[in-house]
């Protein structure tokens, strides 16, 4: 089994500067192979995370809406 | 004791007034602000008013002139420097004077006018110092 770290980024309740910046912060310390799970309540997050994935070329493992939050699971693959 | 509390209150209100005047001065020195206001304000219709503006500004400028601000500051400092004993002496000196208005707090200007009368200034060190500090 891989020893890649899984970290939860709790960005619920935030709208400005937004959940993406919480992700960016966690991304700074992440390494290739790490998995980040982001929780958000901001409805704009869904399109923002897709745009982020497209720009950074990391892997979007899952994007789903749960009862009280949006969950995105990102695998870090594109860090230089 | 009433005179002392009144003096403190007067000094506080005067200080507050001084701060407000400083703020107005700050606003009037703000070139960016004045530029923005003049852009909004100057139109054909408003031109007549704008024409009078120099006089209005001069009037406000006189009120906020450095020497006048300094005079107000001087009075403030003096009031603050007077300790309780001095204020008591002053209060007693007033009681000894024959003045129409009694027991009511005097305005600062009234105090200054009354103090300039020759009989009053005799024998009162405090009052002499006051006059000296106020200068001309």
């Amino acid at each position: 089994m891989s020893t890649a770290a899984k970290k939860v980024v709790d960005a619920r309740g935030l709208s400005c500067p937004g959940p993406i910046t919480n992700l960016t912060k966690a991304y700074r310390d992440a390494k290739n192979g790490d998995v980040l799970e982001i929780w958000a309540t901001d409805p704009g997050f869904k399109s923002d995370i897709k745009a982020w994935i497209e720009r950074t070329k990391n892997e979007l493992v899952d994007l789903r809406e749960e009862k009280d939050k949006i969950v995105a699971i990102v695998k870090i693959t594109a860090k230089k | 004791m009433e005179e002392i509390n009144e003096a403190e209150l007067q000094s506080e209100s005067l200080e507050r007034l001084l701060h407000l005047v400083e703020m107005v001065n700050n606003i009037l020195k703000d070139e960016e602000l004045l530029k923005a206001i003049s852009k909004l304000v100057v139109s054909e219709e408003t031109f007549l008013v704008v024409d009078r503006l120099p006089q209005i500004i001069k009037l406000i400028e006189q009120l906020t002139r450095q020497e006048n601000l300094e005079k107000i500051e001087l009075i403030l400092n003096l009031l603050q420097s007077l300790d309780k004993q001095m204020l008591e002496k002053l209060g007693n000196a007033f009681k000894a004077m024959k003045i129409e208005e009694k027991a009511k707090p005097m305005s600062i200007s009234k105090i200054i006018v009354t103090l300039s009368e020759p009989e009053v200034s005799k024998g009162l060190d405090v009052v002499l110092n006051l006059l000296r500090a106020l200068g001309s």
Binding site: I20 | H19, E32, L33
Partner: protein, 395 residues
């Protein structure tokens, strides 16, 4: 009559000074500040782009109400359990209540090369000296790429990168060199301004002024020799002159217990009450706290008012209200107005907003000194400009 309780305030900035002046009637107030002066930090923008130092600082003593004890010293440590504060000479002070409001620490070393970059071109988030370097750049640059890049999305004053690029644009236009300069603004967000609603106001303005916006760009490494900035997201931008908005960290004060501060040194405070963890006698307000959703003077001011009411037994709570004046150049401005429950209102750009920003700046010292005078005025203003109300006006 019972003796007044001791209220100790760490930091004499907007939050600390207003709190001190608001508490003086009911508490024995002591405020500790590391310098004798109180700075109006928005002036850094005016220094950087207008060479205007006029409103920069005043002696803190001139801004405090009579009766507030001022100690000019550094605070080394705060022990929330023991209720003590240690000063630089190891002198120990105790308190009945404490409010910690020392602001942020700017860390240029947080981004590789930023140290050297700021020496060359300056910035407008650290010191007046660095701000004056920016003025030097914008008044001398004749051609090439002028870049402002955000290095830390949690920087002071959310509108400042936009104000910076637009005021630089104004200077270049007034100097007649604008057509030879490529202006770039690089931000970590998915769009120019992170809040989607306010972006609808700002993006067209940036476009109209010919500002090239690079999104998803978080400045990570600066190559001074080759004049390139690389982003966390893996992209690269070249520049001829560049300003990076630096990493912001919490205050350099040791706070016990350790879980009172987060990994960046900011103090963990409740977003509604400013209370630090379980300590009902300890508060953190302003930039240094995690309860500030925006690092601005308005937030510190409003939080100071909430704390001053809470310690007297009122259930006042932060609404998360922002009221950020945004200068756009050429005597125009807008405001970022939002709260915890409403996104930023689409306040249109106009001259009135600019005038309001300047009036506030000119009245700033009086506002700090006399909260008893300004409170009712601000209460009316905030009541009538609630995002809920404004959203009906500016759809």
């Amino acid at each position: 009559m019972a003796e007044k309780k001791k209220f100790l305030i760490v930091g004499g900035g907007a939050g600390g000074a207003i709190l001190a002046n608001s508490l003086i009637k009911d508490f024995n107030v002591t405020i500790v500040n590391d310098t004798p002066n109180h700075y109006y930090w928005p002036q850094l923008l005016q220094i950087a782009f207008r060479n205007d130092y006029s409103n920069l600082y005043r002696p803190l003593s001139s801004l405090l109400a009579k009766g507030v004890n001022l100690i000019v010293d550094k605070v080394k440590k705060v022990d929330l359990q023991e209720r003590t504060v240690t000063l630089s000479n190891n002198k120990l002070m105790n308190y009945d209540y404490i409010a910690i409001a020392p602001g942020v620490t700017i860390e240029h070393k947080g981004i590789e090369g930023n140290d050297k970059l700021v020496e060359q071109y300056g910035d407008f988030h650290s010191t007046p000296q660095n701000a004056s370097k920016v003025f030097n750049v914008v008044t001398n640059m004749k051609k090439g790429t002028f870049l402002i890049a955000v290095g830390d999305p949690y920087h002071r004053c959310p509108p400042s990168p936009y104000e910076g690029i637009l005021l630089a644009d104004e200077v270049f236009r007034l100097r007649g060199v604008r057509n030879d300069i490529n202006m770039v603004l690089a931000v970590p967000y998915p769009r120019a301004y992170p809040a989607e609603t306010f972006n609808e106001v700002l993006e067209p303005i940036l476009k109209e002024r010919g500002i090239n916006v690079m999104t998803f760009f978080t400045a990570d490494k600066i190559d001074i020799e080759n004049k390139k900035i690389t982003s966390l997201e893996g992209e690269e931008l070249s520049y001829d002159a560049a300003i990076v908005i630096p990493v912001h960290k919490g205050p350099k004060i040791e706070i016990k217990p350790e879980d009172a501060i987060n990994q960046d040194g900011f103090i963990n405070a409740d977003k509604f009450t400013n209370q630090i963890l379980k300590y009902d006698d300890a508060f953190a307000i302003g930039d240094a706290s995690t309860s500030a959703n925006a690092k601005t003077g308005v937030t510190a001011h409003l939080q100071a008012k909430v704390v001053s009411k809470r310690v007297l037994g009122f259930d006042a709570r932060n609404t998360g209200r922002t009221n950020c004046p945004t200068e756009l150049g050429f005597e125009e401005g807008t405001f970022v107005i939002s709260d915890y429950n409403h996104p930023a209102v689409k306040v249109p750009a106009n001259a009135i907003n600019f005038i309001m920003k300047r009036l506030f700046a000119d009245a700033y010292w009086d506002i700090i000194r006399h909260p008893e005078f300004w409170d009712p005025i601000f209460d009316v203003y905030f009541e009538n400009t609630q995002p809920e109300v404004l959203w009906k006006l500016f759809r």
